[in-house]
C-alpha cells in the first residue's frame, strides 16, 4: 500500500479521532503484564555468556535470533542460511510459525514458552529463550525477535542479544511491557537429547512429533527416547519411536518399540495394530496375525484400520 494513501486517513477531523482512539487503545488496550517473580531455588543473577552473537541486518532479527539459538545448540549456522526458511519478504519479518518450522527442519526441539515467569528456570539451566517483543505501541507495533540470555533479580534487569547489541540490558518493567504485547510468546531451541528445566509432557511430545512431521526421523527418535527417560510409560512416545524407526526402515527397532507399548499398555489397540504391520513386513505371518486379531478384538475409533491390517495379512499367500 503506497504511503500517500495511508496519509489521507490521518488528516483533518479524522486526525483527532485517530489521536483519541490511539490514546484509548494505548491506555486500555495493553494486556495486563505479569510481574517477574524469582523462584527461591534459583541464583539471583545468571548470564549465559557462551551464546554467540549474530548482529542482525535490516528486518532480519528472526534469522539472527534463531541462528544464535541453533548455534548454541551445537548446530553452527548463520542468519543468511536461515533467511529463506524464516524470513517472509512481503511481511518484512519472520512469522512465529516459520521460526518453529525452521527449528524443526534443523532437527531441534522447538519448545514453547508460556508466560513471563517460565523463563527464569530455563535461563538458570543454561537455556536461552527467543522472545517476540513489540518495541512500538500496541496500535503501531514494531515487532522484534531477541534472545534472552540472562537475568538479574538484584538490579531487576534482563540481558538480551538484540538487534546490533551484543548485550542489551533492559529493565524488568520495559521487558515485561514489550514482551506482554506478544502475549509472552517465547521459543526455546533444544537438542532432542535435552529436556527443558520445567518440562510438560504434552508440549514436549508435540515438539518431538514436529520433528517426525518434518521428516527429521533420527532427531525424533532421540526426542522420543528422551521423553521416555522422564515419562517412562508414555504411550505416545513408544508409538512415535516405533513409527520413526519404521520410517527409517528399521523394522526390528520399530517392533521393539511397539512391543514395549503393548507391554505397558495392553489395551492400546493402535500399538497391537502397528506391531502386526511390522511383524508382517518381516515375514512373521503367524505373530502378525495374532497381533492384528488382538487389535480388532479391542476395537475403538480406528477399528477400520485394524480390519484393513488383518485382511491384508490374511489375504497374503
Amino acid at each position: 500500500m503506497p504511503a500517500c494513501r495511508i496519509c489521507r486517513y490521518f488528516t483533518g477531523p479524522l486526525l483527532l479521532l485517530w489521536i483519541i482512539t490511539g490514546l484509548l487503545v494505548g491506555c486500555v488496550g495493553l494486556p495486563k503484564s505479569e510481574l517477574p517473580v524469582r523462584p527461591e531455588n534459583l541464583p539471583a543473577t545468571r548470564e549465559i555468556a557462551a551464546v554467540p552473537f549474530y548482529p542482525q541486518s535490516k528486518y532480519q532479527c528472526g534469522p539472527s535470533s534463531l541462528a544464535m539459538a541453533l548455534t548454541y545448540s551445537d548446530l553452527p549456522i548463520t542468519p543468511e542460511a536461515l533467511q529463506s526458511q524464516v524470513y517472509t519478504p512481503s511481511r518484512k519479518g519472520s512469522l512465529q510459525m516459520a521460526m518453529v518450522g525452521a527449528t524443526r527442519r534443523h532437527g531441534r526441539i522447538a519448545y514453547p514458552i508460556l508466560g513471563l515467569n517460565s523463563i527464569w528456570p530455563e535461563i538458570a539451566a543454561g537455556h536461552p529463550v527467543i522472545v517476540l517483543q513489540n518495541l512500538g505501541l500496541s496500535w503501531i507495533p514494531v515487532w522484534h525477535y531477541a534472545v534472552v540470555i540472562g537475568y538479574d533479580f538484584i538490579e531487576n534487569t534482563v540481558v538480551l542479544r538484540s538487534g546490533t547489541s551484543e548485550r542489551k540490558v533492559m529493565s524488568f518493567h520495559t521487558f515485561g511491557k514489550t514482551w506482554a504485547r506478544s502475549e509472552y510468546w517465547g521459543l526455546m531451541v533444544l537438542k532432542p537429547t535435552q529436556l527443558p528445566a520445567i518440562a510438560r509432557e504434552k508440549d514436549y511430545l508435540e515438539a518431538v512429533f514436529g520433528l517426525e512431521k518434518s521428516r527429521q526421523y533420527q532427531a525424533a527418535i532421540e526426542g522420543y527416547q528422551t521423553t521416555l527417560t522422564r515419562w517412562p510409560r508414555s504411550l505416545v512416545a513408544f508409538m512415535g519411536l516405533g513409527n520413526s524407526l519404521y520410517a527409517l526402515g528399521d523394522l526390528i527397532g520399530a517392533e521393539n518399540a511397539f512391543k514395549m507399548a503393548v507391554v505397558n499398555h495392553p489395551q492400546a489397540a493402535n500399538a497391537h495394530n502397528n506391531l502386526a504391520q511390522v511383524l508382517f513386513e518381516q515375514g512373521r505371518k503367524q505373530e502378525a496375525l495374532e497381533a492384528a486379531q488382538r487389535a480388532v478384538a479391542i476395537g475403538g475409533p480406528m477399528a477400520e484400520v485394524y480390519e484393513t491390517t488383518l485382511k491384508e495379512i490374511q489375504s497374503d499367500n
Binding site: 512465529q96 510459525m97 518450522g101
Partner: protein, 130 residues
C-alpha cells in the same frame, strides 16, 4: 459472463481443488499403520492442511507468492513441518500473526488477508474477476 457459465466455472474450479486435495500423497506407504499424529489429542484439521496446500498448488497463487518473494515450495515445506494444531492456528490467524522484523504497520497484514479471502471467494463462486 452468463449465470450458467459462471456456475460451471465455479464448479470446475472447486472440482480442481478437490482433485488436488484427494491426490495429495500420503506420507506412509502402508495405510494400515496408525500415525503418531492420530495419537496426539488434536482436533481433526486435515481439512485445514489440505486447504493450505491446495492454495499453494494454484498457479495464480504461486505467481502471487513469487511476486511477494515467497517460494511456493518453501511455503508448502513450512506447512508440512507443522502439526495439525499449528496448521489450524495458521489457517485461522494468518492475517493476525505479527511478523517480527522491526517493520511497522498492521496494514501490511491486510494484503495477505485480502489475497486469501479473494481466493476463497473465487473458489466458492461469489466473485468472478480472476
Amino acid at each position: 459472463m452468463p449465470r450458467m457459465k459462471r456456475v460451471q466455472k465455479s464448479v470446475s474450479i472447486l472440482m480442481a481443488v478437490l482433485m488436488v486435495m484427494i491426490s495429495t500423497p500420503v506420507s506412509s506407504v502402508f495405510a494400515a499403520m496408525i500415525g503418531t499424529e492420530a495419537l496426539l489429542v488434536n482436533p481433526d484439521t486435515s481439512g485445514a492442511r489440505d486447504q493450505l496446500r491446495s492454495f499453494f498448488d494454484r498457479k495464480d497463487v504461486q505467481s502471487e507468492l513469487t511476486a511477494r518473494g515467497i517460494d511456493p515450495d518453501e511455503a508448502k515445506a513450512r506447512v508440512d513441518s507443522l502439526s495439525d494444531a499449528e496448521v489450524m492456528q495458521l489457517a485461522d490467524k494468518i492475517g493476525a500473526l505479527p511478523a517480527g522484523g522491526d517493520a511497522g504497520g498492521t496494514l501490511l497484514f491486510i494484503a495477505i488477508i485480502v489475497l486469501l479471502t479473494l481466493l476463497v471467494l473465487e473458489i466458492t463462486g461469489y466473485t468472478d474477476f480472476i
